[in-house]
């Protein structure tokens, strides 16, 4: 039933994303229009994929660090991506893909550093140190970024922050294909870890007794979720809120089992971000809103309502 509802919502949002836009297209022109095929369709698909990836990454990371505030970007990834993007502009790296690639490298670099910090206590990945290390690495990357921006002479550096705040202006079939080729592996790894993640919710020791290889589980989940987020950053910048709230919404509506939670988080994240991007493109046309603003404006009231219902009952 829930999958039927979510699939219906997904189709409806995707259709709306194709039909609505700042350019007034008569319905009869929609099938043949370059605006639909080259702009609206890849953009809607990319928003759906990124929203889904962030929903799944957020769900897994919240389970991993057992902290409801965990967000895919909390663990230093946004700082690393920002540093990569700003460095690409300051060094005048050529080519249309320099910026997203550099952001990806920066995010993965930050992830590797946090991962290494998480292992300082021994062979075990300590969730508390992951959180602290993420904040510290994020702060360090942010400081270096600000230093580059204030010392370098490139005037376009300020615009790097615009890119970093996130959005789907850069969507094309190439970025959709990159995500389609890249995302299934980490997504598959996370879905395969659904049952051990349920056990982890009981605590690390009980999970161990119940047969989960906790040490390996933590490493694999951390790496898969971070690599998923790094790809999202590379194609869409830092889009906050989706990865934080979608897991909670799904948990409140459909329970805590990850076998359900991960697919529903993917669909809910996709629907939320596609709908938010469609609104961002259309409500203030000819201007456009940054999509992160819309996700927060849409998501917070829904979240508050669910939270209230949940605490009352």
């Amino acid at each position: 039933m829930k999958y039927l509802v979510l699939a219906g919502a997904a189709l409806a949002t995707l259709a709306a994303a194709l039909l609505l836009g700042p350019a007034d297209l008569p319905l009869s022109d929609v099938p043949g229009s370059a605006i639909v095929w080259q702009l609206r369709l890849p953009r809607a698909l990319l928003a759906f994929l990124v929203g889904g990836a962030l929903g799944v990454a957020g769900t897994s990371l919240q389970a991993l660090v057992r902290n409801p505030l965990a967000d895919p970007f909390l663990l230093g990834l946004s700082g690393g991506a920002g540093l990569g993007a700003v460095a690409a502009i300051a060094l005048h790296l050529p080519g249309p893909w320099a910026l997203p690639l550099a952001a990806f490298v920066g995010a993965v670099g930050a992830m590797a550093l946090v991962y290494r910090l998480g292992l300082v206590g021994g062979a075990e990945l300590d969730p508390r140190i992951l959180l602290l290390g993420g904040v510290a690495v994020g702060a360090l990357a942010g400081a270096i970024t600000t230093a580059i921006v204030s010392l370098a002479e490139a005037t376009e550096l300020r615009n790097a922050f615009l890119w970093l705040w996130g959005g789907f202006s850069g969507a094309s079939w190439t970025t959709v294909l990159v995500m389609l080729a890249y995302a299934p592996l980490p997504l598959g790894v996370l879905v395969a870890a659904a049952r051990p993640l349920d056990l982890l919710a009981l605590g690390e020791e009980p999970a161990q007794y119940l047969g989960a290889d906790v040490r390996r589980l933590k490493r694999v989940v951390y790496l898969a979720a971070s690599l998923l987020t790094a790809a999202a950053v590379a194609v869409a910048g830092v889009i906050g809120f989706v990865g934080l709230v979608v897991p909670h919404v799904c948990r409140l509506l459909w329970g805590r089992l990850h076998r359900t939670l991960l697919p529903t988080a993917f669909l809910t994240g996709g629907v939320l971000l596609t709908a938010a991007d469609t609104l961002a493109r259309t409500v203030v046309a000819p201007r456009e809103l940054p999509v992160g603003i819309v996700t927060a404006l849409l998501g917070v009231p829904v979240f508050a309502f669910l939270l209230r219902r949940w605490t009352v009952s």
């Binding site: 350019a23 605006i35 615009l162 201007r287 456009e288």
Partner: protein
């Protein structure tokens, strides 16, 4: 204790005298005085001899009115006229490095009025350095800045003459022309120039219609789809390298016909990026490029 009271009393008297002069404006002994864009009355004892300019446009105006030799400090961005490069730099001026500015021992610092700059100006005033705050975002503001800089540097006639030329350009109505363009200042997210901006005005004077003239703010984020739907004849880009923008080959941008046909107007940022005494030249240059591109 007593000395302090006397001093405070004296300071009060001086302030009162200055205020009277400012209001009456007929004390012949007082030096040049103007009201700046923060609404402050700026009075100098004598025409400024050591000036620090904290905006490239101010530097250009000072040289244009023959006060370039008074300049003892400039920003790293002040690159015109070439002789300006011989003046020591005090940093990028965003926000101004108060110590570096004060170290030039200026008797007047010309500051662009913006939040952090107003704070810096107050700090300079506390150090006993006179400052003057000007707005300069639009063509219409050039004349009044030139006039007041002329007064403050004792080059009143030259300042007035430049101001008249600038005011006459700014008062011309836009020329209706067949060509349209969009200024794209950043590609992801796409940021375009709207009305109420210097560049929109330049385009109008050169006979080109800015397709985003309906956006009232100087710049705005739009989607590629909107740019494609507005279908400008040209994409205007500020570029000092003369190379086409890096998004020119990206598939999503090729939906915009002007990008697909590579109809770019690559305008040098030094000439087009700021209101300056060379703005009439910028208008002519844009008109020439519009006419020479089929």
């Amino acid at each position: 204790m007593r000395r302090w009271t006397v001093r405070a009393h004296l300071a009060g008297l001086v302030a009162l005298a200055a205020a009277t002069c400012a209001r009456g404006e007929r004390a012949p002994a007082a030096g040049p005085a103007v009201t700046d864009d923060a609404g402050r009355r700026v009075t100098l004892a004598a025409p400024a001899r050591r000036v620090v300019s904290l905006l490239p446009s101010f530097t250009e105006i000072l040289f244009a009115i023959g006060a370039g030799d008074r300049l003892v400090g400039r920003t790293t961005w002040c690159d015109y006229p070439p002789t300006a490069l011989a003046v020591p730099s005090v940093g990028d001026g965003m926000p101004p490095n108060v110590e570096a500015v004060a170290a030039r021992r200026p008797d007047l610092v010309v500051v662009y009025r913006s939040g952090p700059n107003v704070t810096a100006a107050q700090q300079l005033e506390r150090l006993g350095v006179q400052t003057v705050l000007f707005d300069l975002n639009r063509l219409e503001e050039l004349g009044s800045v030139a006039r007041r800089l002329g007064v403050l540097t004792g080059r009143t006639a030259a300042g007035d003459s430049l101001a008249r030329a600038m005011d006459s350009l700014a008062s011309q109505p836009p020329i209706p022309g067949p060509r349209s363009l969009a200024f794209i200042v950043w590609d992801n997210p796409p940021i375009v120039i709207g009305a109420g901006s210097f560049l929109d005005r330049l385009a109008g004077l050169a006979g080109a219609r800015n397709v985003f003239h309906d956006i009232a703010t100087p710049s705005a984020q739009v989607s590629i789809e909107t740019i494609a739907a507005r279908n400008p004849d040209f994409i205007a880009v500020l570029s000092d390298t003369g190379a086409p923008p890096r998004y020119a080959d990206r598939p999503e941008w090729r939906v915009v016909p002007a990008v697909r046909q590579r109809r770019f107007l690559l305008l040098p940022g030094r000439l087009f990026g700021r209101p300056s005494p060379r703005s009439p030249e910028a208008v002519r240059e844009l008109r020439r490029r519009l006419a020479s591109t089929p």
